[in-house]
């Protein structure tokens, strides 16, 4: 299951959602807000999400992972809105009988979420400037 939240991600609830007696492994990935990017000091970060498509596409990614890997359960929760340093921006939890499949599926889910879902982040720098991530580079590739 994939979901978007505008409040703190409940990490314990995400882990609980993938628990099960047949599971011998839990792999989690947390994406955190860091204080720098490409040489610039970052103060905070803002996520814009188009929920109708993001949730549908996110659930599609989870379904793909459940089909492609020998896993039991998978959950991903992504934040929207204004986030401060060290806040959790995204969490992926995958459980499986054995660890290898959970590692692979967790990597698959976060990689697909980053490239397919309509989610954008604007970094606010210590310099007072702000920039949409990925967009400035694309402009220069025209």
């Amino acid at each position: 299951m994939f979901s978007i939240t505008d409040t703190d991600i409940d990490i314990a609830a995400a882990k609980q959602a993938v628990s099960g007696n047949s599971c011998g492994a839990l792999v989690t990935f947390e994406g955190w807000i860091r204080d720098h990017n490409e040489g610039q000091a970052v103060d905070r970060l803002e996520y814009e999400v188009y929920r109708p498509v993001a949730v549908a596409e996110g659930n599609k990614v989870i379904s793909e992972a459940l089909l492609q890997f020998d896993i039991s359960h998978a959950v991903c929760v992504h934040r929207e809105g204004l986030l401060e340093l060290s806040d959790v921006a995204v969490i992926v939890c995958v459980s499986s009988a054995h660890r290898a499949a959970a590692f692979d599926a967790c990597r698959y889910i976060i990689d697909e979420v980053k490239t397919r879902l309509p989610i954008w982040k604007k970094e606010h720098y210590s310099s007072g400037k702000s920039e949409w991530v990925n967009c400035q580079h694309c402009a220069s590739h025209q």
Partner: protein
């Protein structure tokens, strides 16, 4: 033909609006993007952008129908 066009993130800022109704001869999603990129000086390569039609992910070659709502997504950056 009429299509509603919606802009997100940097596209919204560059276009200066969230949505508009376009009257045009019709064509593919990619042709619509090229038209609107020229009109609003959207400084993004189409290959890095994504498109959804009526809230479903699509591709630039898809022919548009009367009344379709086209969502222009600049390069995404989740995670």
């Amino acid at each position: 033909m009429k299509n509603t066009v919606r802009y997100f993130a940097i596209f919204r800022e560059q276009a200066g609006l969230e949505k508009e109704v376009l009257e045009w001869p019709g064509g593919s999603a990619g042709e619509l993007f090229a038209l609107m990129a020229g009109k609003h000086a959207l400084l993004q390569a189409q290959a890095a952008a994504l498109v959804a039609i009526n809230d479903e992910m699509s591709d630039w070659k898809t022919p548009l129908k009367e009344g379709d709502e086209v969502l222009l997504f600049p390069p995404v950056a989740g995670g």
